[in-house]
Assembly symmetry: C2
Homo-oligomer: 212 residues x 2
């Protein structure tokens, strides 16, 4: 019994996600998070102890959720190439559902993880670990060319995160009429990345090697 009605912690986390994504850890304001969540600021401290506690809880959740999706792909059926395709699509979909995720990822990489405790860092580490494992198996099975799995991880996911986090600045830049950065949709870009990744991982075709 005692259905806990844990509604305010969840509302706080949702508000915190927006605030931290928009402003970063240092720029985020506890008052603003509380106001956005329609809770009293004291409630926030009651549930999460501190601004940092809230931040870590949020990130641990996000990373755990995202890693679970990747693990389902890694453990599921399909060819190595199909799994890589799905990793890209699935992370793009995840970031679409959780629009705050890409900006937070960018900031956390820039920050060097200074606000994270061991547990949260471990949750984060699962992402490269699972993707790396998929690539590693593909290489071992000679479905992919030999390459460090982490290289594949960065080259397939960094552009997706960057592109999705950068929607706002691209709009700003397009207004200046120096470059038009609105040319295509996020969906098109995801397909582009799947295609580019497939080619980067494919064996053979030394034809495309050094031309200089």
């Amino acid at each position: 019994m005692a259905r806990p009605a844990r509604v305010s912690p969840d509302r706080i986390l949702a508000a915190a996600a927006l605030e931290f994504a928009e402003r970063g850890f240092a720029g985020a304001r506890v008052d603003r998070i509380a106001r956005r969540a329609h809770v009293n600021k004291a409630m926030l401290y009651y549930h999460f102890k501190s601004k940092n506690g809230l931040y870590r809880t949020l990130l641990r959740r996000m990373f755990t959720l995202a890693a679970a999706r990747l693990r389902a792909i890694a453990d599921g059926a399909g060819s190595h190439a199909e799994k890589v395709d799905r990793v890209i699509a699935s992370m793009a979909a995840f970031m679409d559902e959780h629009a705050f995720f890409p900006a937070i990822m960018l900031r956390e990489v820039a920050e060097g993880g200074v606000h994270l405790d061991r547990e949260t860092l471990t949750a984060l580490a699962a992402l490269p670990a699972v993707v790396g494992a998929i690539v590693h198996r593909g290489v071992k099975a000679r479905a992919f060319r030999a390459m460090p799995p982490m290289f594949a991880y960065f080259s397939m996911l960094a552009p997706v995160i960057f592109f999705l986090a950068g929607t706002r600045i691209r709009k700003e830049i397009s207004h200046l009429h120096v470059v038009d950065m609105r040319e295509s949709s996020a969906d098109d870009f995801i397909r582009h990345m799947q295609h580019a990744t497939r080619r980067a991982l494919a064996r053979g075709s030394a034809r495309h090697a050094r031309t200089s």
Copy 2:
């Protein structure tokens, strides 16, 4: 005459670069920048008016410098593919000389450019503009497959920025022994990106298309 001995503005900018890269705009402390630069805080305001003025001056400089290098490549000799190769190498070298650059880029993308004025945004916009122009010409000359130039821009440079900015968090993560992210050097990664980009841009080879 009156050799201005503009040494303190430059020292301030150098100190600001480190501080802003490490902590972001909101997390950066004016006192700390002044102390790092060995100048009085009042001097900083005397030269740059405000924290934001300092930030914009720094970024405008960086973007202008980086864009100049890219323009030299675009206007120089060589095949389309060679130019793309050089864009990647040159940006990697630039970020190696200015180690604070990648983190600031990541943060600014996440931030949506809110601290930047029109002039600084225009300087930033030159980067995708020049790279986009190189790709566009290559596509027009049928040296590259057809694709939106901005897609090529993101897929070739986002991983480089991400990788270089992420040195610190990768070290943190490697300590946890969940994944080893130290496997290879930055130079190896740059070569990987050049190779992957060459393949992504190359025409033909429909063999690597959809496998699902």
